[in-house]
Symmetry: C2
Subunit: 513 residues, 2 copies
């Protein structure tokens, strides 16, 4: 058995079911091994940032790592943007990166690059396989790392001779380590704060935003008069009528500072202390008051369900009913607005939909209008590297077994980063409705530019404007194999949404905003 | 003056005239400084690999570095593929990469990444500016590095506070070092080899492929019965009726080995000893015979014109006339073939055209049919990281002052990597004719897969085929603002080429092959 076969069989035995791929010459033995092995499905992306973004979306929904197949250093480099986001989402991914044969590398052939250094910038685990006899074991270790809770990026660099040489051995599955235990002292300290302290915020992220932790946090908050919020860049968040109506920390730092100014204590549940996305001259980098005390209940890798249960018990917090989120919204009408869009989507989304949200500045207020929607899961841009919305939607649809509708809320500037995703959506006939928010500019940057206090001259506007020429997203989508239509008001949007929800394949609605 | 202004004024003083940009929040002070400064033109790309590829194409034609403006680590990461190619092309580029403010970085806000490590994988020079007072000097040093012959990638990382703080000082221009002198001993040794040795190949690359070196090498070859070829991945190569009809070393290693087997000596002129692009099982990595002697006349950073002149003098090689390249070709007809396409383009291309060639497997035989074309310059994919053809064409058109027709020969799979380039071509009204070779598959990989000896099953074909759904490049181009039409035979191609050459703007011809 050659190295490539031992690698594929080991991945399969360790529970990998999906390979998101854009292979090259040095990966042909791996492709051949995939071809002859049942149980790992391959999905092609036409650029690597699509491939890695799909793997991120898949993990957020399926909860098990996929592998990616990437070609040499530059292929990995093309996919680093969405690996950055996946790292921030703490998604588990096993990257398999083909590389020059070990004896060929010193010759510095054109595609030779510093693959190891590139991989280290985003990976928790990196190894270059050096021998066909070891690659099975290396693959088992990679999956072990990727499955380490909450999820890690593991990158296995695979020289082509290690792939084609004989001597491969299928390795046994390596168990991932248990999460670090919950700290009883932290529970005591937080309980004391909640008993005595006034104005406490419980801030959720990661597992802490899951259904059970949400409800426990809510119960604790009701018993102690605390508040509950979630981080701005939460990776996947169950919401809607069966969930607690929680808001995110706002993106705009002045608003976040305002919201957080009322709290004397912040309790972190798998979250980090809130800091602004970027620094601004003369403004503080942290978003809470200097005198606010920050308490860590659980770190990102600890079990928030267990810690919150223990905290609720310690506080004797009683079961509480769900807050009333009001009636299910009705579709809005007229010219598109952020509120109207959110309301229309909340009104029409099917049960258990998945929302992939890269609406950027347009979508900052969506939460308040969607609490009463059907139960759904909301996925955000975790790391701020734009271009994750479309591939995350694509991977999420596959992660959900193609059985849940994905609604992809997508700003135009960001969509241009990974528009190749639409082709994979068409090829795989995925149930994805993209709402493409065409505002013909980088709105977020125009806003930031104005903050600098400079006047918006021709050169600056030339770097922030997408309107010359206008992108025609219906044509672009059609060219990539996806049906599409334009909507200029919310009634048209509602009709197109309803129509697309009936079709099992992808559809793109270009909403002129 | 703030840091950003001192940076922009220093770049301008050091001769930078172009900024290829995709800015983000942390670069707004730099954008404002560009806005108020005359003499640096800004060109927007809608994804960073377009931005860096344009800078590469610009340098290859203009011969002076442009700067790029990239957003944080992930923005740089998105542009690394074409920086890899630019590094192989030895193009001079000054990357300005915005980053978190120095005091904000330790807080690990979402977009924080290991920008320095990412930059080092492709750059000859990297510096993080730490103070507004020093950024002018840092910029001068960056341009000095980028201008060091033949050209280098210099990356200046610019924390946002260094940009907005006052105290900036415009720095004086720093002269780039002179190239290392030509080695008289090497000239003697090569002269002796050429006098005595039989079967000598003079292999040109870099400056060695330029007009003067070509003619000198030809004169030497005629005097000594040697042969002359150019490297496979030559960055820019003057060709056509006023040049020597030289062939490249073939890509396919069996062919290259065959071609090189006749030589006992290889003389390197700014080139490297030929090695195969990838290793293959049981085949040697070097393409020449083990007993062939390799002689370095000039390294990549030495002056090939001077060395070849000295060599010609040493050998007493007389001036020789140009070889007869035959009549100018006439357009071919019928179904598209590589030969027919090359012949048609050779027949119709205007004087001083620039060819950006990412035709990959389809275009390997183009040279032999284009020696008798009008004088032109041919640009290749230097580093093998696909997705450089369209952005290099875009940057080249700007580097030529929009006064030369660019013909972009582009394979479909590679085009999908950086199709956003078409939008910039439309926005800037650039004289670019793209011939999009739509074969609906990754041909080069299918060829390589067959070499592995495996049968092409469903899974493998699924990873190598682009035909389901078919990409419609006319729609894609139109959606991005570029006029386009389909051609299914060479007569239609000829008509569309002629039509596009009359229009100053871009045009895309989807050639079904």
């Amino acid at each position: 058995m050659n190295g490539a076969r031992s690698l594929v069989h080991t991945l399969r035995a360790a529970g990998i079911e999906l390979c998101f791929a854009n292979p090259g010459t040095s990966e042909m033995h791996f492709v051949a091994a995939l071809d002859e092995t049942d149980g790992i499905q391959s999905v092609l992306g036409l650029q690597e940032n699509v491939v890695t973004g799909m793997a991120d979306g898949y993990y957020r929904i399926a909860g098990i790592p996929a592998c990616t197949l990437l070609h040499c250093g530059p292929g990995l480099a093309n996919g680093l943007g969405n690996l950055h986001n996946a790292r921030r989402a703490r998604s588990g991914i096993v990257n398999v990166v083909g590389d020059q044969a070990t004896h060929h590398r010193p010759l510095d052939a054109p595609l030779t690059a510093d693959t190891d250094s590139l991989a280290r910038t985003v990976s928790s685990w990196v190894r270059t396989s050096s021998d066909a006899r070891h690659v099975g074991h290396d693959a088992a270790a990679a999956v072990q790392a990727a499955r380490t809770k909450p999820g890690q990026i593991a990158t296995l660099i695979l020289p082509s001779d290690v792939s084609w040489n004989e001597g491969g051995v299928v390795a046994e599955v390596l168990r991932s380590p248990a999460p670090p235990p919950v700290d009883p002292f932290a529970i005591q300290k937080v309980a004391q704060t909640l008993r005595c302290g006034s104005r406490v915020l419980i801030l959720l992220d990661g597992q802490g935003t899951g259904a059970r932790s949400q409800k426990l946090a809510w119960r604790i908050a009701k018993a102690t008069d605390a508040s509950v919020m979630v981080s701005y860049g939460v990776s996947h968040f169950p919401r809607g009528r069966d969930s607690i109506p929680l808001e995110r920390i706002p993106y705009v730092s002045a608003q976040a500072t305002q919201v957080l100014s009322e709290f004397e204590h912040i309790v972190l549940v798998n979250s980090s202390a809130p800091v602004s996305f970027f620094a601004h001259p003369g403004r503080p980098s942290t978003l809470y008051r200097p005198e606010t005390q920050v308490h860590v209940l659980t770190r990102f890798d600890q079990d928030s369900d267990e810690a919150l249960q223990a905290l609720a018990d310690e506080l004797g917090a009683r079961e509480v009913g769900f807050p009333n989120v009001g009636p299910r919204p009705v579709p809005a009408s007229g010219a598109p607005t952020p509120e109207g869009l959110a309301q229309t989507i909340a009104a029409l989304m099917p049960d258990n939909a998945i929302v992939s949200d890269e609406s950027v500045s347009y979508g900052r207020s969506f939460y308040q209008y969607t609490h009463a929607a059907a139960p759904h899961e909301w996925l955000h841009l975790t790391g701020g590297a734009i271009g994750d919305g479309l591939p995350v939607a694509t991977g999420a649809a596959i992660g959900a077994g193609r059985r849940r509708r994905v609604i992809s809320l997508q700003a135009d500037g960001s969509a241009m980063y990974s528009l190749q995703s639409l082709w994979t959506q068409a090829r795989e006939r995925l149930p994805i409705t993209t709402v493409l928010l065409n505002n013909r500019k980088y709105s977020i940057l125009i806003e930031e530019y104005k903050n600098v206090g400079a006047k918006l001259g021709t050169t600056a506007m030339n770097m922030l404007d997408l309107g010359n020429p206008s992108l025609d997203w219906v044509k672009i989508a059609n060219g990539l194999g996806v049906e599409a239509a334009k909507a200029t008001n919310l009634e048209q949007l509602a009709d197109l949404l309803n129509q697309s929800f009936k079709d099992p394949g992808p559809f793109l609605i270009e909403l002129m905003v």
